[in-house]
């Protein structure tokens, strides 16, 4: 074991893992985290805590992750390169580890342009791949990025994101390989709606042997409405929502229920793909959907 992570243990034991996402509040209200955590408890193996996602100021991901630790849930703290330089990142990692956070997802981060402080400066001292290497070097070599030694090193189970639907498509599996080489132990993908494309991407992933080098959790999400499906297709960079899904949502008498059904259908197909170790359910601001999805797709049996 590389860390004290329960997620790592489960994945190593061959368990099909389920992770979900919890967005910290735009306030200091810890009760919101507790409420959301209670919805997810017992249904998922670990919970991603987003780091000021879409560049909107929210409670610190590490602080929220620490609250989850106290509630007995397994957090995956997300860390982006947008808001911190290598000094702040490493400092926060030491703190996160000391607080009992054992999983870390390393991201470049959304540009601040569409967030609530578009006039801010961004940092991007490191990019996600350099961050992965930094976290791995801290853990495995007990060294800071500058080369200085660490007496008690932070030991994270290290995650990275991969987007099979971004361009150039033929490079996407290779870029994930680069992330694994840099230090990723597990991967969480962008939300899968376009299964054909995902299957094609997974073929390259297997050809490169990457499914043997890291655990790949496929991203899924329930859609609430046809409007949301169209919005994701047209307005969210790096998303691929096929027209069939939009049509299914438009036809549905109960769109919310249909959104969950689509999500369950996708999960059932993902389970059949060789090299997939689990699913990551991104029900942003709709945590209530997670237990239903988990039950309907028989993920916890």
């Amino acid at each position: 074991m590389k860390s004290e992570s329960r997620l790592e243990k489960l994945l190593n034991a061959g368990h099909f893992a389920v992770t979900a996402e919890l967005g910290p509040p735009k306030s200091s209200d810890s009760n919101i985290i507790k409420q959301k955590a209670n919805i997810l408890k017992g249904y998922v193996d670990a919970v991603n805590i987003t780091d000021c996602q879409t560049a909107i100021v929210r409670m610190s991901s590490i602080a929220a992750a620490s609250i989850l630790v106290h509630l007995g849930l397994e957090p995956i703290a997300q860390m982006t390169c947008r808001d911190r330089n290598r000094i702040a990142i490493q400092s926060d990692l030491l703190g996160a580890s000391a607080l009992g956070v054992n999983n870390l997802l390393c991201l470049t981060g959304d540009h601040q342009k569409f967030g609530n402080h578009p006039e801010s400066k961004n940092v991007f001292d490191l990019d996600s791949i350099q961050l992965l290497k930094t976290v791995k070097d801290m853990r495995d070599d007990k060294k800071f990025q500058c080369g200085e030694e660490i007496t008690v090193e932070p030991r994270f189970f290290i995650g990275a994101a991969a987007n099979p639907f971004a361009d150039p498509f033929e490079y996407r599996a290779f870029r994930m390989g680069k992330k694994i080489k840099a230090g990723a132990d597990f991967i969480q993908t962008q939300i899968v709606f376009n299964l054909d494309k995902f299957v094609k991407w997974m073929e390259t992933v297997r050809e490169l042997g990457l499914d043997k080098k890291a655990f790949i959790l496929a991203g899924v999400a329930p859609i609430k409405s046809a409007w949301m499906a169209k919005y994701m297709k047209n307005k969210v960079a790096g998303m691929d929502v096929p027209d069939e899904i939009i049509a299914r949502m438009e036809k549905a008498a109960n769109p919310k229920e249909e959104g969950i059904n689509i999500c369950v259908d996708i999960i059932n197909q993902l389970k059949e793909i060789k090299g997939i170790s689990g699913v990551h359910i991104m029900a942003v601001e709709w945590e209530e959907a997670v237990p239903e999805i988990v039950e309907k797709s028989r993920l916890k049996e």
């Binding site: 540009h111 991007f124 990019d127 996600s128 791949i129 930094t134 971004a166 361009d167 490079y171 080489k181």
Partner: protein, 222 residues
Amino acid sequence: MIIASQKSVREIADNLTKHKRISVAGCGTCVAVCFAGGERESEILASALRMFFKLKSRKVEIRQQTVKRQCEWEFIEELKENIDWADIVVSTACGIGVQAVQKKYLPKRVLPGLNTSFMGMPTSPGVWKERCLGCGDCVLDETGGICPIARCAKNLLNGPCGGSQNGKCEISKDIDCAWQEIYDRLKVLGLLDSMNEIALPKNWSTSRDGGPRRIVREDVNT
């Protein structure tokens, strides 16, 4: 070259409330080529200011003069007569020129007439694009001659990020993804393999992050 654009006449005039003699100083190099502060543009600015004050019924005299460059002392010298005559100066050079003229002619005030924006070039008529951020440690050899520091919105060294779609950057459908361009370029150059090499964290101390920079050359500095 350095690319700049003009401040609005109103913004400039707001700083000229009590002055009677104004000298507008143009610069004949970069900002002339990008049509922001050369001979022609500074003359137009001078006329626009004359008109502005006339409409306000204010009696203001305005002179205009353009020198070859405002970023070298010998050329700035030529502005002496008109600046001595004026109560205040508006320079339509880049920020470097404004600073140099201000230092040379203290205690006279020198105001910027432009917003200096970036180092770049015209890519089509009326369009200028950023090309270099002066990071002090050039990586163009690794990226097929396309700068990821100036041209990628997140200055990634291991791009493209997950927001790259249809050749465009996640921040705007009007901005090309630099890393898609780098990928395509490396393919043409037969260097695509290098996309699998991890680019290590950059040494930013050679860029502005290391503090104001200077270059000293013993061979020139005799």
